[in-house]
Symmetry: C2
Subunit: 195 residues, 2 copies
């Protein structure tokens, strides 16, 4: 293999711990123990704790970004309502699938002390733009009830989806069904709303 997978393994374990514990509860000792090395050895791959967390969060955002973009690309000929549903399903799948990166990225919204790294703010903003564009598209297609604020609608939707990490349990809910419910709230079934 071209490069040791140590770095990836460290990030995998860090993502798992960050997902359940957030920034402050996750310690370098825990990460090292989960990887199977000593804590000092982490510093051969990363310069600091913050650098590890930053990498995990960026990967998590990138992961969900790519998943949603792929879902939208795969439903390019479908109606806006189906595209919304596909995007929601992709976002929820990234959150509740086997990867811990995206959940960790949501859980670690604010970095411990000091400001949020610029790279994180950038990747987050780029992902938000996907949803901004999708909401615009829905509005132009008349799939949204007239008079609704697109920005509020986007914030509600993202908030509700990300809040699902606190209550979603596989088995109790199905991601596809949930996506249908959420999409129906944002863009009601009752047909197009003429402008």
């Amino acid at each position: 293999m071209p490069e040791g997978g140590s770095r990836r393994l460290i990030l995998d374990m860090a993502a798992r711990l960050l997902r359940s514990g957030g920034y402050h509860q996750t310690t370098l000792r825990e990460i090292a123990e989960a990887v199977g090395i000593r804590k000092a050895s982490l510093y051969h791959h990363f310069a600091s704790k913050e650098e590890i967390v930053e990498a995990v969060v960026n990967d998590g955002v990138r992961f969900v970004h790519e998943a949603v973009a792929a879902a939208l690309a795969g439903a390019v000929q479908a109606g806006p309502r189906r595209r919304l549903e596909a995007a929601i399903a992709a976002h929820l799948s990234a959150l509740h699938g086997h990867g811990d990166y995206t959940s960790a990225a949501i859980k670690v919204f604010t970095f411990g002390s000091g400001p949020t790294p610029e790279s994180v703010r950038l990747s987050r903003r780029l992902y938000e733009d996907v949803w901004r564009g999708l909401v615009d598209e829905l509005q132009e297609a008349g799939a949204i009830a007239p008079g609704r604020s697109p920005e509020a609608l986007r914030l509600f939707l993202l908030g509700a989806m990300n809040g699902s990490i606190d209550w979603y349990r596989p088995g109790r809910f199905d991601v596809g069904a949930l996506a249908r419910e959420f999409a129906a709230l944002v863009a009601p079934d009752g047909g197009e709303h003429p402008r």
Copy 2:
């Protein structure tokens, strides 16, 4: 006066710090310093850090619970749609008003280590029941589009509202307008949905 306000003052400062920093970032030294006493003195009023956080969270949940219950009682003769809007506005006001307790209660969803105290789980569940009842009421009144899952709808609503602590800024948004947007999503304007 019957009792010194020291206890309340400690909880006020703790709520403020917990709101912005969560459980792990908030230290007893910070709380004590904000109050103006030494850290050891905190133990004359509370037995542990967890007891302080528990009191703040319970007060925060109780606060929003009472606010929403009062709003619903004050709109008892209104239609279900107006009652929903009033409840949402009350919840958002409790979150973004001057009290830090409710925001802290949302931020401190999981306690540091060990399980969530029973009293917190109880008060949270009691508050959730208010929304369960309200959603049922909306459904019986036919204000909700047919086919929607009441549980998913409730979780969507709570998640979207609580997520607003991450993006709400006074001035950029108005609580009343926001509540109207919210209510319109859950119970569309277009009149009653016959069953």
